[in-house]
């Protein structure tokens, strides 16, 4: 396949940045999207140009490091995949592909397609945990039976990989799906109940302070989420937050 790539190039955080065109040939349909970019980068390096910077690590869809806004969608046109799992067979010979970074005020660009998602970490610092020390003396794991239903739902929420596709896809740059996945995981488990009130208030506060937008329930996040995290989690966080607010 031969393709035209339009890629966002930005030297560093202070640079203005622009879209630059590249031609690439001999792309195999079995390549992953990132392998296609590897090929491009190798060409650029050998020509003496600077390669396109993009985040990636595990390349099997679990670390959440890869991002990219491809043809107007986070992680590209395929569903339930991260960019590293997107394969070139999704595209046709002669296609033009737009590649941009995940954009949000809370995700400042570091270079080219690499963005800083540490806002997500800071939201987690504010309450994404259960306060239990490592003592080796916690109670036996089977002493708290948890219904399979609740455990499965908690697991569904916990599969979030923190990639930021929800924020990138949201027209408001809202981080509600990400934050609600963590809040939900703990809200669904008995271990999470003790700190539930403070957790949701603090995490939402931090989320707002980071400059994410307000959720308007468009549902784009759920569709683009590579792990299929459900909007139910956002509703649950709304409930948790409202009842926590009224509890004071």
């Amino acid at each position: 396949m031969n393709l035209t790539l339009k890629i966002w190039r930005q030297k560093n955080a202070n640079d203005k940045g622009k879209m630059v065109d590249y031609q690439i040939s001999d792309v195999s349909p079995d390549m992953s999207f990132l392998e296609m970019l590897d090929v491009l980068n190798n060409q650029l390096i050998e020509k003496g140009d600077s390669p396109v910077a993009f985040d990636h690590d595990c390349r099997e869809g679990i670390c959440g490091m890869c991002s990219l806004y491809i043809n107007g969608e986070a992680h590209g046109p395929d569903r339930r995949v991260t960019t590293c799992q997107l394969h070139m067979r999704m595209f046709k010979d002669g296609d033009t592909i737009h590649i941009e970074p995940f954009r949000a005020k809370a995700f400042p660009i570091i270079k080219d397609l690499v963005v800083d998602r540490s806002a997500f970490d800071r939201v987690q610092h504010a309450g994404g945990f259960i306060s239990v020390n490592t003592s080796g003396n916690t109670q036996d794991a089977n002493s708290i039976p948890i219904s399979k239903h609740a455990a499965d739902k908690a697991m569904d929420a916990a599969t979030c990989i923190g990639c930021g596709a929800c924020v990138a896809s949201c027209k408001n740059s809202s981080a509600m799906l990400f934050v609600s996945a963590k809040v939900s995981q703990y809200a669904l488990l008995p271990q999470g109940q003790v700190e539930a009130t403070d957790r949701v208030l603090n995490m939402v506060q931090q989320m707002d302070d980071e400059g994410f937008g307000n959720c308007t329930n468009t549902g784009a996040c759920e569709v683009e989420c590579p792990k299929g995290i459900s909007l139910e989690n956002i509703a649950r966080m709304n409930r948790e937050y409202l009842s926590a607010s009224f509890k004071g």
Binding site: C58, G64, H87, P145, G192
Partner: protein, 665 residues
């Protein structure tokens, strides 16, 4: 220097308890005066950083990813072992210990493995308390599955994402401490050197990967939880960024490197599809609970399948060779990884590989789908003889168990594994070798510790499935926090360590020179091209089976490649910016040294043990043949070039387990 493993005296079962009672403690007020650096934030590093901070030490944690949550532990799929015996199937601490030592082909350290088995149950309790959503049965209790090389069900799991959930558990514990200010987190930082002051590890040199700045960080002790070096093979199931740099630079500063040749080749990975491939994807070992591995019995069928004239589903049962079930009736498809991988290679080498490259075997779920479907139909009171219905119900069960893995497979290969068998082939997955540590997890440099995959101690020459997560968390949560206290108790009066000493000066200068050399080299070949070539040498000559001739060639070729690298590598950009190629160049440079030591170690070890298979040493049936004279750990001391590395031997003594022929028949 003679190796002292510092294994406590006394009976095996009491060693750890007694040791904990005898070591020195640091009082809470003094802990506040002590700094600890933890490099790497996977299961081992993350859990260690969180626990040390909980205890009151000031922790500085480093990771090269953009968040600690992205460390490659996150990709572990199948599960974590623990001797809980919830299933009542005869499991015990001793049996887990026994299985692990036997699975490691009697090349691991008895006392360490027993301690690992001992604390394994605590890990599950701890993780559940942290909110890790392990799979549960309908009664609300924890569920288990089986893994290779054992006869009990002791593996706890969270769908096919156990590593993710455990890592997020450790990450959440870290978050709590970061929020409290007890951990200072340095994301996108790479450790370039350990700084040794007066013979003790007192800090590191790190590069800020965003700005390119070289930074000095001091502490009273340094912990490396930096993972394995499987990426020396270029293609592996490791993450793209996984590297040996931290461990290797520590080695260069005096930490012995143990058993570098012990590499785990995982039997169930998605086969290589072309030259463009950047990494290999693992399909969890848990799939072997239900999947049956086979190749066609007859060459003519192989040819028909390769040319697309025959579909695997059309091949009659009698024309299939379920070679694991045939060769190992007792363990069948659940033999340990090294055995399963070699068996696959044996069939493919004999010409029975089922894909175009001849390097793939089938992993078939058809039987499991029917079995589960019938069961489900029976439970629901439906017609068990309705094939379509049974198949549908069976698929549902299989989907619930392995859905995410099947989806992953389909996305990569573009074939539906519910309808046609998966194609799999072995791939490099884990490295049992690593930095040599004593019973306290301390390396040969005082004050420098190595935990998790970065050290060598617990898995011998072959790791059992679901044991890496167990070891990482055991080291980080339950072992290191005790043993490091003993060392730090002597440092309560030391005060803050200055970064202005000549030792820091020298280390920083050294790091800067290395970087400048790479940047200013302006050669003609990309970093990746060297890495690929190294990987080819490693895979062809130091891979699943090794022999003297090829290992000797590998040593020479790697050494020559390294020279060429330094002469002709092209690193674009500058040192003071976000420059992935530069970071990668440093890592590949270290792989080029490690690779040679790897081959040298494999050459030395004239026996077959676990993942290390020397063609010269096999039984008539082609099984690995150990030799008593090699019942030792080879720990290498750095002496300049890898070829000059000096061998130290730590003899392995087995007092509580009989060393015998490892058989899974």
């Amino acid at each position: 220097m003679a190796l002292d493993s510092k294994i406590p005296q006394g009976p095996l079962v009491d060693k750890w308890t007694k040791h904990k009672n005898n070591i020195n403690l640091v009082n809470p007020a003094n802990k506040r005066l002590i700094d600890v650096i933890v490099v790497g934030t996977g299961l081992a590093g993350g859990s260690a950083a969180a626990t040390l901070a909980e205890l009151g030490y000031n922790v500085k944690a480093f990771c090269f990813q953009d968040s600690p949550r992205r460390a490659h532990s996150i990709a572990a799929q199948g599960g974590i072992n623990a001797a809980k015996n919830y299933q009542g199937d005869g499991d015990s601490t001793y049996r887990l210990f026994y299985d692990t030592v036997k699975g490691g082909d009697y090349r691991s350290r008895e006392a360490n493995v027993y301690r690992l088995a001992e604390v394994s149950a605590n890990i599950i309790d701890q993780c559940v308390a942290q909110g890790v959503p392990f799979a549960r049965d309908y009664g609300g209790l924890l569920d288990n599955r089986s893994f290779g090389g054992v006869l009990v069900s002791r593996t706890f799991y969270a769908k096919g994402q156990t590593g993710q959930q455990l890592l997020l558990g450790a990450y959440s514990a870290m978050n709590r401490q970061i929020g409290r200010g007890k951990i200072k987190m340095y994301n996108r930082h790479e450790m370039l050197d350990v700084v040794i002051v007066d013979g003790k590890a007192r800090g590191i040199i790190a590069r800020n990967l965003v700005t390119g700045e070289i930074e000095r960080h001091s502490a009273h002790a340094v912990v490396l939880g930096t993972g394995g070096y499987g990426n020396v093979f270029f293609l592996s199931t490791n993450a793209m960024g996984s590297n040996v740099t931290a461990a290797w630079r520590a080695h260069k500063r005096g930490a012995y490197f143990a058993n570098p040749c012990y590499t785990q080749i995982h039997p169930t990975c998605i086969p290589v599809s072309g030259d463009h491939q950047s990494k290999l994807t693992l399909m969890s070992e848990s799939l072997r609970n239900d999947g049956r591995i086979w190749v066609p019995k007859h060459k003519k069928d192989v040819d028909a399948i390769r040319s697309g004239k025959l579909k695997p589903t059309q091949l009659a049962e009698d024309d299939r060779d379920y070679y694991l079930e045939r060769r190992y009736p007792a363990f069948g498809n659940l033999v340990p990884r090294d055995v399963a991988s070699r068996a696959a290679k044996e069939r493919c080498d004999a010409g029975f590989g089922v894909n175009a490259t001849g390097e793939a075997v089938y992993l078939d779920f058809a039987a499991a789908i029917i079995r589960y479907g019938k069961e489900k139909a029976h439970v629901k009171g439906l017609n068990e003889n309705d094939d379509a219905l049974v198949k549908e119900l069976g698929k549902e069960v299989v989907k619930a168990k392995y859905g995410n893995l099947f989806q992953m497979y389909e996305k990569i290969v573009d074939e539906n594994p519910y309808e046609t068998p998966m194609m799999i082939f072995p791939a490099v997955h884990y490295t049992m070798g690593g930095i040599w540590v004593d019973y306290n997890l301390q390396t040969t440099i005082p004050g420098l510790y190595a935990i998790g995959e970065a050290n060598f101690s617990d898995h011998g020459s072959n790791r059992l499935g679901a044991s890496a997560l167990m070891q990482g968390l055991a080291d980080g949560y339950f072992v290191l926090p005790y043993t490091i206290g003993d060392y730090l108790s002597k440092d309560i009066r030391t005060g803050a360590i200055s970064t202005d000493s000549p030792e820091f000066e020298e280390a920083e200068k050294n790091a800067v020179e290395n970087i400048n050399h790479l940047i200013n080299n302006k050669g003609t070949k990309s970093v990746d091209s060297f890495h690929r070539r190294l990987g080819k040498i490693m895979w062809n000559k130091c891979g699943m089976s090794r022999n003297e001739k090829e290992l000797k060639e590998a040593v020479e070729e790697i050494s020559a490649l390294r020279k060429e690298f330094y002469k002709d590598v092209l690193v674009p950009g500058t040192a003071d910016e976000f420059n992935e190629q530069l970071a990668k160049a440093g890592r590949v440079a270290d792989f080029l040294e490690l690779g040679e030591l790897f081959a040298k170690d494999a050459l030395l070890r004239e026996e077959s043990a676990g993942g290390h298979f020397r063609e010269e040493h096999q039984t008539p049936e082609g099984e690995a043949k150990r030799r008593t004279e090699f019942q030792f750990v080879s720990a290498w001391e750095y002496k300049g070039e890898p070829k000059d590395a000096l061998l130290h031997k730590e003899p392995l003594v087995y007092e509580n387990i009989e060393v015998k022929e490892r058989s899974y028949k």
